[in-house]
Symmetry: C2
């Protein structure tokens, strides 16, 4: 089986390192082409892997012909999209046109709302892909979208809970806690414009068949995360809510919470107050300068956070519902340690927890364990082999019965 | 009597407006030349005054010949320095060379420490001028330095307290409270680089004959200011401590406190954390950009704060000591309203409380009420006519017996 990976950043590197470790003899992975707009970057990862199955190539992921040429050159069976989600539609279409399978790992809030990116949330951003479900089905091809951690692994947690623990799931709270500390007073894990959208965009959750929109950061809570401790968290919109609402029958409410420290929020607020988060150019010394882009220049390079970030992430879901006529609550989560991830794949847990589940999803496809043709979310397939692979591949999960539930206040 | 004012900013304008109001018939003020590097600015003030005694001139205050030419053209008797203190030494020397009297209103922290401006305080910045005392004395000329509010009026308060209320003054706490609100989450009253020095420089106070240096903002207190209410304040170095220590015999401790709101301090801290207060250039889009200068571009223009600033300032001194063998404490202060100042002189209380006392000091000189030749601080002359003028000229003062005293904590 041959994979063309497009985009070899921290997430792509984590996926490639794990793929090599877990299939040293090429039982299912014959080839994984590491392609990137920055050839040096792809070559560096290829050299670190020191395995002929991982050649490096340069590619402009917005140029369909260049991507097609690589698919043909290597006779790839799967286009593994590890780019920023703004590339998803192009790469999704290229895979279809070339007749190969496809996967991506869209991150919520990475795709801004088309008309009001800093205040409105981009609900139903997956529509473009799902509208083409029948074309893919007819052609006998599988496209798996949103297969990172959240969306991705947490969606599988939901299907797993439904299959083994509940007759009916009534509520799902997705909890994304980054308990990491990089030691800087303020730094962002990725592009500050995305961080800004996280805190300035309206939140939303799904209840009784419709969306409920909230003001930015309006709904706050505090939760005592296993292996981490108490953290403040806030309700945000996150795209996995959209597919879980479609795919988990009988669910009444789905919410997403992400932790933010008070210092992070205070810095964001002060920077917004003075105009440093503005995306409109300001004229300075006869040059047009976009404040948030200048800020990005001042902040530590996100890639430099890996070696210095300590602590853990805890990402999972709390489910409530009915089993055998009785109410029950369970919490399925994974805890990941930033330093251990860095030692293993050269990047912190943020990349690791996205790249590893995506690699497992890709393996489900290339090994044929998931094969129904069409455009699907991961929760539409049998969760068992995937959950087993998470335990083997470095993201062991825990099922906690009767956990503390989430209390919100405004 | 003829005055050459050099520098016609907000402070100079306030001084000129008050001078015209208080001497409409030219009893003592025959002429006040308004000179500025920006001729349009000087002309605008001249037109607003609509009085032939206030002509506008262009001058480069760093060019001795240009200043001399104006002194000769108008046969000025006094050089009234209303520039940034960085011009003081040049203008002080020009006045001496031309044989005219001189005044300035140096603001502490406006002159950075020569080697470490953002951490060290510039103790004894007046030495250059006082070293020339005997030259001025021999020539029969008076130079009056630091004649704004603080330094300036507060120094006169000290001499007034010594003359009328105490046999011995033991301690002086100078309290500078700006209770104004401009309605912005964050803005600075003047150049943010000076604001930065205020909060990042070490503090110092004078005790038992020597200086005690503190860490930046190390000593905090909270005081219930008459007409304003409770405000947090911090111990800073301020130059009037230097002259009061010389001129108020028997004083054991002198401290200076300035109020800062928590929001102001939080914004300064966050901006410093991300590097926005840095004075070292950063390369961005192939251009060298100094972060704090770009920040200055984003912040509201200090001149725009005048019309929208509401609230009051309270600036004064708390004295403790002995009278007739009994311990006593008094508080002499002035309360000034931002909006009333703006209506009267077109700028807020920060300019008003600097320009008006300076104008009164100049009047003491030109009317001959203060005439001993040499280089002096205002507390070295009889305070009574000056204190009387403050009441007449719009800065009425209050003597409060047995006020709350200052309690500090670290």
């Amino acid at each position: 089986m041959k994979i063309l990976m497009v985009g070899t950043g921290g997430v792509g590197e984590a996926a490639a390192v794990i793929a090599k470790q877990r299939d040293p003899n090429g039982d299912w992975l014959k080839l994984m082409v590491l392609s990137d707009f920055n050839l040096e970057r792809a070559q560096a990862v290829s050299e670190r892997l020191a395995d002929a199955r991982f050649p490096a190539e340069k590619v402009n992921a917005r140029n369909k012909d260049e991507v097609k040429a690589l698919i043909e050159k290597y006779q790839a069976d799967l286009l593994f999209n590890a780019c920023d989600p703004s590339f998803n539609e192009t790469l999704f279409d290229v895979a279809y046109e070339c007749g190969v399978r496809y996967s991506d790992m869209a991150l919520s809030l990475s795709i801004p709302h088309p008309t009001d990116p800093y205040h409105k949330t981009n609900v139903k951003m997956g529509d473009y892909q799902f509208a083409k479900h029948e074309d893919w089905e007819k052609r006998g091809l599988l496209a798996l979208v949103g297969i990172g951690m959240d969306p991705g692994a947490v969606n599988v947690f939901a299907r797993f809970a439904q299959k083994h623990y509940f007759d009916e799931i009534h509520t799902i709270d997705i909890l994304d806690c980054n308990g990491g500390d990089h030691g800087y007073p303020f730094a962002t894990n990725f592009n500050p414009e995305i961080n800004l959208r996280e805190v300035s965009a309206n939140g939303s959750y799904w209840e009784n068949g419709h969306w409920v929109e909230t003001k930015p950061m309006e709904i706050k809570s505090r939760y005592n995360f296993p292996k981490i401790g108490e953290k403040d968290m806030y309700l945000l919109h996150h795209e996995e809510i959209e597919s879980l609402a479609r795919n988990i029958s009988g669910v009444r409410r789905i919410r997403f919470f992400m932790t933010f420290g008070q210092s992070y929020l205070t810095h964001m607020q002060c920077l917004e107050n003075v105009g440093m988060l503005s995306t409109s150019p300001v004229s300075f010394n006869g040059q047009e300068i976009v404040p948030i882009q200048f800020l990005k220049e001042l902040l530590p390079d996100p890639a430099s956070l890996g070696p210095r970030t300590v602590g853990k992430t805890n990402i999972g879901c709390i489910f409530t519902g009915i089993k055998d006529g009785k109410e029950k609550t369970i919490y399925i989560y994974n805890v990941c340690d930033h330093q251990e991830c860095y030692k293993e794949v050269g990047s912190q847990a943020i990349s690791y927890t996205t790249g590893v589940p995506a690699m497992i999803g890709a393996m489900m496809v290339v090994t044929g364990q998931w094969k129904t043709p069409g455009v699907f979310n991961v929760e539409e397939f049998d969760p068992d082999p995937y959950m087993e692979a998470l335990n083997q591949w470095g993201l062991p999960w825990v099922v906690c019965e009767a956990p503390e539930t989430v209390t919100v206040w405004r």
